[in-house]
């Protein structure tokens, strides 16, 4: 399937692309557009104004995707807490990891094209997922 989002990928879009590839559509192909009008007709748009898979009711797109696709894995919701704060910093959640992740993604987007941000960001999220999975299993921070 084709998926489309705004170019200049940052935290929320990188997290969503990772979520799509890992949990929804392993063959996902991403298109990056400068304007909503450029979304190809056969692509599902996300993290753009006016589309269903976007910010809603104060949720970021990553949270919207978890809700819309019924992904109830508690590890993903723990990542959602971090992604939400890294994206919006509205202090809805306590996420000390968020400012660091925000900076990493911002730096990455300064040196890479969007496709590469998604690829490298994907590995970051793989690691973050594993870290939070072990933390939830252990009930404390894993070493």
């Amino acid at each position: 399937m084709r998926w489309a989002t705004r170019s200049g990928v940052h935290i929320d879009r990188a997290a969503c692309a990772w979520l799509i590839r890992r949990f929804l559509d392993p063959q996902a192909e991403f298109v990056f557009v400068a304007d909503p009008d450029e979304v190809p007709v056969d692509a599902t748009a996300f993290d753009m104004r006016g589309v269903e898979l976007s910010h809603h009711g104060g949720d970021c797109t990553f949270e919207t995707m978890l809700r819309r696709f019924g992904l109830d894995d508690p590890v993903l919701w723990d990542l959602a807490r971090i992604v939400h704060e890294a994206d919006l910093a509205d202090e809805r959640y306590d996420a000390p990891e968020a400012p660091g992740l925000d900076v990493l993604l911002r730096g990455l987007s300064m040196i890479c094209a969007d496709q590469e941000v998604v690829t490298i960001g994907g590995r970051l999220f793989d690691g973050l997922y594993e870290h939070r999975r072990r933390a939830l299993l252990l009930g404390r921070e894993p070493s």
């Binding site: 104004r49 976007s54 910010h55 809603h56 009711g57 104060g58 919006l88 910093a89």
Partner: protein, 167 residues
Amino acid sequence: MVAGSISRWVLLAYRLPREPSTPRIALWRKLRRLGAAQLQDGLVALPLDARTREQLEWLAEEVSEAGGEAAVWLAEPATAAQERALATRMAALVAKEYRVVLAAVEAARLQPEGPRRRTVARLRRELRRIGQRDYFPPPEREQARAAVAELASQLEACAERAGRAAR
């Protein structure tokens, strides 16, 4: 921004129903956290960058979802003086926040070590929060940062002395 030069801004024009008031208050809080300058009723501005533009776009979406109308515009002030006036106003608002931090540092000097440590942690978070909406840093920024850093280094010195005494 270089003094006198004109830069680009992102504007959010919005209208929300008077009732219910919850979305109005939520929007007002978010605009305040972003440090948006209120140009008029229903019109706010931020210096343009990828983040500010995106944040205002999401707020526009929230306004629409709450039954209101919103549009995001990219703009330039017609004169440098107009821009300076706006920047000065925005800087004055964050300067006030930095002065609150400076006052808290003064008050913390009288605190015992434990509460003082917690104050340092709280003020560091506060500085980060203010930094997110500090687009035209006033001199108070460096003063507040230096004051918090000094308070923190005094605590370190305290801990070191205590460590040496224990050995």
